[in-house]
Structures are given as C-alpha cells and as structure tokens.
C-alpha cells in the first residue's frame, strides 16, 4: 500500500498502516534530535504543538542566506539515540516519527495504536532536501543549527517505509531476532 498523508496526521490515520507499507508526507514536519528531545520534555510550554505532529530525527545542514535559511542536506539521523525520550514524546501527542535505523522495544510498545515510525534511507541528505520546500521557522535556536528544531514544509516527502507500525510490529526487531538466532546457532 502506498499513500500520501497530509499533516497533521491523526492516530486513526496511523492505524490504517502496517509494516512494509510505503507513505509520502506533505505538510509540516519538525526536526528534533538529542538535545531538542530533552528540551521539549522539560519545556512546560513548547513553542509548537506536539498534538498529531510529525517529528523528523534529523540534524540538517542549513545555512543562513540573508534573511532566509537554505537547506543544503537533510537526511535522517540514528533514531535509537532518542529511544529513551520517545515514549514521553508520543504521550504528548506525536503520531509520526521519521528516522533511520529503528528504535527500542519500549518505543515499539509505546506506539500502541497512536504512532508509527517511518524509515528514510540513511545518508541520503540530498534526496531528502529535494522534498523540502521551505524552512518555516526555527525553535530552540540556542542549541545551534544542528540540534535546533526546524519547522519544515515538505511535499511528497518519501518514499517512507512503515518500519514500526502502531500495532506492535517492527521490521528491525524481526531482522535482529533472526540475526541473533543465526549467531547463536
């Protein structure tokens, strides 16, 4: 199944998909990596709404071009580093996470019918940048350009593989279980 999803994406939209499906996203995504996760969770009033939001695990390469920002490359970063904070982020209403490399078993459980994880090929900074139309805003700029939250307008961002669905399935977990079994044979 391949579909185009427009943000905001609701839990009931997420539930239609299962591992192996392919989606494209149009609308608004927020980049967030290590420091932004900690910051968002300790912020009593984050500067943007997390309800039905799409978080993109990315530390984009962005330059300031006069009054505007120009995206040079913006592929995903390793999602596993954000595993610890993610259940709390999901609780705040995030329904969609884009990243690479997968996340922990606790994160898979926390998705319970309201969030899914979409994989973009790692290292593909230019492919990703080509689907970003505009930098709409920047939050927590004091964290520096790499760690800040960038509000990006994207169009047909993808192809994104549903790699962890909202029903408890994770491609990474099944692959890792089978590779561990091969190792112990």
């Amino acid at each position: 199944m391949s579909s185009i999803l427009k943000t905001p994406i609701r839990p009931e939209d997420v539930r239609h998909f299962k591992v192996g499906d392919v989606v494209y996203i149009s609308g608004v995504v927020y980049t967030a990596r290590d420091k932004a996760h900690v910051k968002i969770l300790s912020d009593p009033q984050p500067p943007f709404s997390l309800l039905n939001a799409c978080i993109y695990h990315s530390g984009p390469l962005i330059v300031k071009d006069g009054p505007t920002y120009r995206v040079i490359a913006a592929g995903p970063t390793t999602s596993a580093r954000m595993s610890k904070q993610t259940p709390a982020i999901v609780k705040r209403g995030v329904t969609t996470i884009i990243g690479k490399g997968g996340m922990s078993a606790e994160v898979v459980l926390s998705f319970a019918s309201r969030c899914f994880y979409l994989a973009f090929p790692g290292g593909c900074g230019i492919l990703a940048k080509e689907r970003i139309e505009e930098v709409l805003d920047v939050y927590y700029a004091e964290l520096g350009f790499t760690e800040a939250v960038w509000k990006l307008r994207v169009r047909d961002f993808g192809p994104l593989l549903v790699a962890i669905d909202s029903h408890g399935e994770s491609i990474y977990n099944s692959i890792q279980t089978s590779s561990r079994a091969k190792l112990n044979r």
Partner: protein
C-alpha cells in the same frame, strides 16, 4: 616556493580534498554498491541501495555534501623522510577546516564533550606515518557519527574468539551505522594500538584483493541478514579489512572500526 605560499597551497589542497570527499562518493565504493544492488534478492534492499546511488549521483552533480552529517575529518598523513615541513601542520589543517566550513559548506557539530556547548575549536583527527620520498601524501576520510558510535574495542582473553566478538558487534549495531558498512579490524598490538590499526584499514581501497580471513569474515557478516539500513538483505557489509600486529601473550586486543556506506575519501600529494 616561499614558506607562506607552501602553507597556503597545503591549505588550498586540503579544502579541495574535503570538498571532493564530501560531494563525490569514490568509484570503488560506487562500484561495490552497484554490484550489491544487482546481487540483492530482497526488493526492499534493492530500493535502499538504489536510493543511496541516486543520492550520490545528485550530490556530485550539485557539488553539495551527500550527507548532512559532514563527519569528522580524519587525516592520514604519509610524510616522506626527505621532506622538510616548516609550518605547523595541525594549525594548517584547522585553518583549512574552518574555511571549508563556509565554502563547501560543512555542518557545525563540534561540541565540548563535558559542557556539550558548541566548540570553536575544529574537530578532526590525524594519523601519521613516515615513508620514502620528498612528498607529503594526505588522505582525508570524513567519518559520520552513526558508524563511529557503534565501533567497539575489547581486551579479549587470549583464549576467546575474535570472530564472535566481531559478529556480535555487527549484529547489535543493526541498522544504526547506515549499512552496507565497511568493517575495519585491528587485531593485536595494545589497547590504543588496535584501534589505530582498525582505523587505518578504512583508508584502503575496496578494490584491493581480500585475503582468506577477510573473505571469510565478510561471508559470516553477510550471513547475519541485517541488510541495507537494517531492513534485511544480503548486503550488510561491502568489505572487511584486517590489520594485525604482535601482542603480549597475556593479551588479545580487538578493535572493530565501522564505516557507513558513505565512505568519503579523497587524497592529494604535495612536494615539500
């Protein structure tokens, strides 16, 4: 050439090498990825590999970094014994990185390790070796954090098995280092010596003929089925490099340096 102009030429060459590494995936890597894409039977794995190849093509055409993680520049400096270097090499490398940051551009992701506040000091590493001749040969490898983070070192007991430590390391790293990876093994020497051996192997060409041990390790890694991006498939690694050195009879240091598919290298030589 005068003292200043040699230093300036060195800085210019270094910036050019950084640009080449960031924007053009070396042909040995491209060839290995294309071979892997052909050999894969999993559709998902094929798609990941073709996205990687397409991204590399676009980056080269645009002259822009292929990955937003523009990495840690690691310089391998082979210094000819007849050269005389009358400028501060480290300072020149730092200047080159600072200038390249604006010119290429590079991402500013260097931080103080304790305060985690942005570091003004540039981030890079150097490996030195002495060789014959009157040239300085420089190879730069820009290495991303995703693969550096899953690299590992173990002080094994002499009766323990090297292979199972390596396979375990690769297995547990799963999709995190952006597979297909290149695995550099440093076996023997000392604690830090093994890590340097492992890192040094990553400067070798994928076209180099592999020995029996390397081929055997590669086969076993690829049998794990982790595949491109950890989504399953035959291609977990493109190549295994092994470098060994004698060690104390009571020791068995093993270092596993993992490199992502974006094995970004470039080199230049300068007569000094």
């Amino acid at each position: 050439m005068t003292h200043t102009s040699i230093k300036e030429a060195f800085i210019r060459h270094t910036i050019d090498a950084l640009r080449e590494a960031e924007t053009q995936l070396p042909s040995d890597v491209t060839k290995a990825l294309a071979r892997a894409a052909k050999a894969e039977t999993s559709e998902l794995a094929k798609e990941q590999l073709s996205a990687i190849l397409e991204n590399a093509k676009l980056a080269a055409a645009a002259g822009l970094p292929m990955c937003q993680d523009t990495g840690i520049p690691i310089f391998s400096l082979e210094i000819g014994r007849e050269t005389s270097i009358d400028f501060n090499l480290k300072e020149a490398l730092a200047t080159a990185i600072q200038q390249a940051t604006n010119l290429i551009p590079l991402r500013e992701h260097a931080v103080d390790p304790i305060t985690r506040v942005s570091s003004k000091e540039p981030l890079f590493d150097t490996l030195y070796s002495i060789c014959d001749g009157d040239e300085l040969s420089v190879t730069v490898l820009v290495k991303g954090a995703g693969s550096e983070n899953v690299s590992a070192l173990a002080m094994l007991e002499p009766t323990q098995d090297v292979t199972s430590f390596v396979l375990n390391t690769v297995c547990e790293s799963g999709g995190k280092p952006c597979p297909p990876i290149i695995v550099g093994l440093g076996i023997g020497s000392t604690f830090d010596g093994s890590a340097r051996l492992a890192k040094k192997t990553l400067f070798r060409s994928l076209d180099e003929k592999e020995n029996t041990f390397e081929a055997h390790m590669l086969e076993q890694i690829n049998n794990l089925g982790i595949g491109p991006m950890g989504l399953g498939g035959r291609t977990t690694a493109l190549r295994v490099f092994v470098e060994k050195a004698p060690c104390h009879t009571a020791m068995l240091p093993v270092a596993v340096a993992i490199q992502c598919w974006a094995d970004r290298k470039a080199r230049f030589r300068i007569k000094l």
